[in-house]
Structures are given as structure tokens and as C-alpha cells.
């Protein structure tokens, strides 16, 4: 194996094989396990039932994010069921010796934001979490994927998982992105191209000059959305940007260990001549700001295009699916989406709540006002980001524009914490899913970049961000 040219995915995979048996999936070792309040209770219960211990408590790290209120009053507005989940996570962490960055902790935040921020996420690692957007951590050259609660219990008890080696899918993006187009637009363009199941059974490796040019935040946004194309994971080979991001962070190796780590991490790239199961190539220079119009992330297109027509689609089933989506969204085929009124703008989530996302949005908000009747929420991904944004005065920009500056959490991306759309409302959202009811029952979501979301907030309608200059 080692003689052959290998993909990055295979290199990371091979480092983690604990045991291989005939007719069985491989048993692979998990370096980092992240947990949160919603998908861990039943896993701890499974341990309890069998009287098992946590094998490696220091390899599991917990946060509270999914159901935590972003209202500054936090605990006062917490509902009973959520409180019970948070209390249970706290008790489980105490009992099993797991470090918890819980509600009220000064490093608390969304699980996929704080992992990299704390330097827990490192190149070459295997990282899992009971959350599909674990793919985010692939930005560091880690093999990171979401798992169910049963598998959470497997990792707690054995630090291992039974998995089949994934197939590699090369996503090459070369060229220079036009002004006003960013990582979120690349992600939405890829999903529009291959569909929400285009990556099933595969792991994406994002490569090419446009990927190299992305910041770590941009790479996280891109890898985060891998799951929306059906790929459980997506990764980018680590480079100088990766090392510069990690150096000095709390859990990053220090001193001689840092030197050794970087030397090792430099070997983590796909060898020349290695073959991928599939490949897709995109020209970054041809991309435009993207927006979704339907009820899955694959139903997206350039923001200035007219809505597709069911009658133009190849199959009856596809036409029926599109019509259902347009009906749910209250949109008419063939019409423009630009200028469509918006009720809510949400800037946040594990996809787009990092400091660069907030800076991008603030550029648009600066010196302007949110349009009348539009509710705008800006939800930083973590306490660290909140502090950084406040140090830069971004919170003041948002507040002066009439937007709400909230406490960190998943918030309106999953709408479990009270931040949600009312039936029929339209939102431009920087989150990752536009499924029916995702942001509140009956709510209708247009997914887009922070820049596009901010432009919609100030204009009160779907707006091409290229027509709104930085304030």
C-alpha cells in the first residue's frame, strides 16, 4: 500500500486502522470525539446500561449549542425540556470526566466552531460527532464525519468505530473568484451541480488554486456543506495557512512537539498519480453569488437567474419534486428571485458564524439601516468570536443598523432554541439547510452567503450583493 500513490483520505484512513477482519468493516480509531446535548443522552444511557466506562475521557470534548438560547437572558428563557438535556449533559460530563464548554463557559460555542478555535481539530485526525456538520473539521485535513447516537456510544466505550473505507471524490476548483463571491457560493454551486446525493458513499477532497486561496474560515464553510451534497466528509490538504491558524492555540502541540507535528502534517496530501473514484471540476472565475430557491440545498442557482420551470426538467418525478418545492416556497416558476421580499435575515450557524463571516456582513451593514419590517439576527459562533467581533466594533455596526447581536449557538439554523421563523415567513439565511420547516414550521428559507444575507437585510428583499458596495 505504502508504495502506491495514495489520496489524502486513504493516508488518514490507513493511520487509524485498529483491526481488519474478513467480511467485517474496518475498525478505526477516533482521535477526537465532540459531543453536545441533543445526540448524547441516549449514548451515555447505553454505557450506563452495560456498566461500561469511558475509554478515553480526554478524547471526548463537550459543548452546549443546539438548544441554548441566544437571548442575553439565556437561562431565564430556557424551556424545561432543553434545561433537562443541558443538566443531563453536565451530569454525564462530571460523572465520566469529560471536559465541558457548557452554557456560561467563556469558550462556549457551536461544536464545529470551537473545535478548530481551541486547536482540538488537527490535520490527519479522525474526528466524529453526533452531528452531520462534523465535516467542517475536514478543512484542516482531518477525516471528520457525523455519526448517530449508537455510534456515539461505541466511541465513548471503545474509542473506535466500524466503518468501510470511503471512496475519494476530487472536487477541483481552479481560478480566481470574482468580487462578491466566496466559499459559500462555491459550496452551493457544487451542490446545485451534483445534487444532494451526488457525494453519497464518498469523501470530497477539495483541491485547486481557488481552494488554496481560501482562508481557513472559507475552507470550513466549504467542508461544512459537504454533507449537503451527500458526502459524509470533505477535506482540504493542510498547508501553511492551516499551520498558521493552529499555532499557539490551546490544544495545539507546543515547542518540539509542534515542529514534529508540522513535519508530519506536511506529508498529508494526495500523492501525484493517485486516483480518485470520481472527479468534478469547477472554474471559480465563472461563479456568481448563489442562492437556493427550493427545499433542499441542491435547489440553488446564481442569484440573478430566473426560477427553473418544471416543464424543462427531464423526468416527471423531477418535475413533480420541483413543483412541490416551489409550492411550499410560494414561488412561481420562470420568475426572478431578485426583489422577492424577505421577513427575516439570519447570519450565523456552523457554516457562517466565524469572524470573517461577520466582517463580510458588517461591511455591508456599515452606515446603513436594516429595511423596515425585516428582523435581522446576527449570532456569533462562539464566545471567542463574540469577543473578537466586539473588540473590532462589529457589534456596534450591527446594532446601529438595527440588527440583533445575540449570544452564540446554533440558533435559527435548527430552530430548537426559540429563534425561529413563523409559518409563511421568508428568510435569507447563512445556514446550511433549507428543508421544509427547518427554521420553524412553515418557514421558507433561501440559503446564501453572509454578504448576500446582509444585502437582503438592508434592501428588504433578495438582492445581488454585487450591487451593494461596502459601506
Amino acid at each position: 500500500m505504502s508504495q502506491q500513490a495514495q489520496t489524502l483520505v486513504d493516508k488518514v484512513w490507513d493511520r487509524h486502522i485498529v483491526s481488519e477482519q474478513p467480511d467485517r468493516p474496518s475498525m478505526i480509531y477516533i482521535d477526537l470525539h465532540l459531543i453536545h446535548e441533543v445526540t448524547s443522552p441516549q449514548a451515555f444511557a447505553a454505557l450506563e446500561e452495560r456498566g461500561l466506562k469511558l475509554r478515553q475521557p480526554e478524547r471526548t470534548v463537550a459543548t452546549m449549542d443546539h438548544s441554548t438560547p441566544t437571548d442575553p437572558r439565556r437561562l431565564e428563557v430556557l424551556d424545561g425540556q432543553s434545561r433537562k438535556q443541558l443538566d443531563l449533559l453536565r451530569r454525564n460530563c462530571e460523572k465520566y470526566g469529560v471536559t465541558l464548554y457548557g452554557l456560561g463557559h467563556n469558550r462556549n460555542g457551536i461544536v464545529h466552531v470551537i473545535g478548530p478555535e481551541l486547536g482540538l481539530t488537527q490535520p490527519g485526525m479522525t474526528i466524529v460527532c453526533g452531528d452531520s456538520h462534523t465535516s467542517t473539521h475536514g478543512a484542516f485535513g482531518a477525516l471528520a464525519f457525523g455519526i448517530g447516537t449508537t455510534e456515539v456510544s461505541h466511541v465513548l466505550a471503545t474509542q473506535c468505530l466500524l466503518q468501510h473505507r470511503p471512496k475519494s471524490f476530487e472536487v477541483r476548483v481552479d481560478g480566481e473568484l470574482p468580487e462578491g463571491v466566496g466559499a459559500k457560493d462555491i459550496a452551493l454551486a457544487i451542490i446545485a451541480e451534483i445534487g444532494t446525493d451526488g457525494g453519497t458513499g464518498h469523501v470530497f477532497e477539495f483541491r485547486g488554486s481557488a481552494i488554496e486561496a481560501l482562508s481557513m474560515e472559507g475552507r470550513m464553510t466549504l467542508c461544512n456543506m459537504s454533507i449537503e451534497a451527500g458526502a459524509r466528509a470533505g477535506l482540504v490538504a493542510p498547508d501553511e495557512k492551516t499551520f498558521a491558524y493552529l499555532e499557539g492555540r490551546d490544544f495545539a502541540p507546543k515547542g518540539a512537539a509542534w515542529q514534529a507535528a508540522v513535519a508530519d502534517w506536511r506529508s498529508l496530501s494526495t500523492d501525484e498519480g493517485a486516483t480518485f473514484s470520481r472527479s468534478l471540476t469547477l472554474d471559480a472565475s465563472k461563479l456568481a453569488p448563489m442562492i437556493t430557491f427550493g427545499t433542499n440545498p441542491g435547489m440553488g442557482q446564481a442569484i440573478d437567474k430566473d426560477l427553473p420551470r418544471p416543464e424543462d426538467l427531464g423526468s416527471d418525478q423531477a418535475a413533480a419534486e420541483l413543483q412541490k418545492a416551489l409550492d411550499y416556497m410560494g414561488l412561481e416558476s420562470g420568475k426572478a428571485l431578485l426583489g422577492h421580499p424577505v421577513d427575516v435575515v439570519f447570519i450565523g450557524s456552523c457554516t457562517n458564524s466565524r469572524i470573517s463571516d461577520l466582517r463580510e456582513a458588517a461591511e455591508i451593514f456599515k452606515g446603513r439601516q436594516v429595511a423596515e419590517g425585516v428582523r435581522t439576527l446576527v449570532v456569533p459562533g462562539s464566545q471567542d468570536i463574540k469577543r473578537q467581533a466586539e473588540a473590532e466594533g462589529l457589534d456596534a455596526v450591527f446594532r446601529a443598523a438595527g440588527a440583533e447581536w445575540r449570544e452564540p449557538g446554533c440558533s435559527m439554523c435548527i430552530a430548537m432554541n426559540g429563534d425561529q421563523l413563523s409559518p409563511g415567513q421568508y428568510a435569507v439565511s447563512t445556514s446550511n439547510r433549507n428543508f421544509e420547516g427547518r427554521q420553524g414550521r412553515g418557514g421558507r428559507t433561501f440559503l446564501a452567503s453572509p454578504r448576500t444575507a446582509a444585502a437582503a437585510a438592508i434592501k428588504g428583499c433578495v438582492t445581488d450583493p454585487r450591487t451593494v458596495k461596502a459601506g
Binding site: P25, Q42, T158, A256
Partner: protein, 199 residues
Amino acid sequence: MEALKSLTAQALVVHRDNIDTDQIIPARFLKVTDKAGLGDALFADWRYAEDGTPKADFVLNQPWAKGRKILVAGQNFGSGSSREHAPWALLGYGFRAVLARSFADIFRNNALKNGVLPVALGEAEHGKVLAALAANRDEALTVDLEACAVSLGGERIASFEVDAFARHCLLNGLDQLGYLLHFEADIARYEAERSQRAY
């Protein structure tokens, strides 16, 4: 996990592609701390009006739909989140098998670990099932995990693939944790080697 060898049962059809986990069970039902009782939340937003009354036009609410154990759907069933509440809700309602054109990866894994069998069918075979159920909604299907085959009226109409180990576990009602624990020595050896690393 309850074993599943062969299941002969009536089916329900929700013929949509990309049925995501937010439709299977909306996020507001994820605030529980156990697995029980989620059957009532299955397809909640399609099944109930906002005031909680059942919607007359949704298939799960038809009087004849009670007790059906096989769900038939379209392509990419279970896309979206990793919530295991999705198979818990399907199982809670009584479904033991989902027949679809294809499945999302995480859902497939989660379903198999909970005794819900995902059966991916080719276009022609899927079409046969739909046609048979359109002609007679009470037609019973047999999903035979030992033979990896689907039959209609005693006639085998499709074969399907399942991961060999998941099949073994489902046939015997085993969960995988017991198997993993059996490799304690290998894990310890791996960890010992790992601790030699310079960082």
C-alpha cells in the same frame, strides 16, 4: 435490537425524493433524553396541522394505514442530519423496512443499528413495487433478509445488497458494541503505539 429475518407485511407509499430527516422527525422533537415514544412524531409536519389534528390527506392518517410495517419512498431517503431519532421514529411507528431508490449514508447506518432495514431498489424494481401498490394498496410484500430479496405475491421481484456485517447483526439481533469490545487487546496495542508519537 430485535432480529429481522424475513418480513411479510403491507406497505405505505410516500413517493417523494429526498425525504430529509427534518421531515422524518422535525428538530423540535429532539429535546428528549430517551428513544421511546417518537413514533407519534414521525412525519409530524406532514401528518398534523398546527393545532395537532391529523391532516386528512396524508397517507399515515388513513384508517387502512394502521399497523403497516414497510415504508416505500423515492430517492435519497434520510438525507440531512445524523439524528438517530429518525430511525427511532420509524421504528416507534412500527416500520421495520424502508424500500427506496437510494439512501443517505448516515441514515442507512443509523437504521441498520436499530433494526430498520433500508432496501435500495433499482428503477425497474422500484417501479414494480409502486405499480403493485397502486393497483392494490393492501398487497403484502415480503422482504427477506436471509435471501436479500423482495417478493410480491410469492414472486421474487428484486434482490438487494446489505453490508455483510450489518446483515449478520440484524439477522441475529446483535448490536455492534459487543463485537467492538471484543477487540480490547487490539485497541490497547494501537494506543500504545500511538503514544510513541512525537506529538
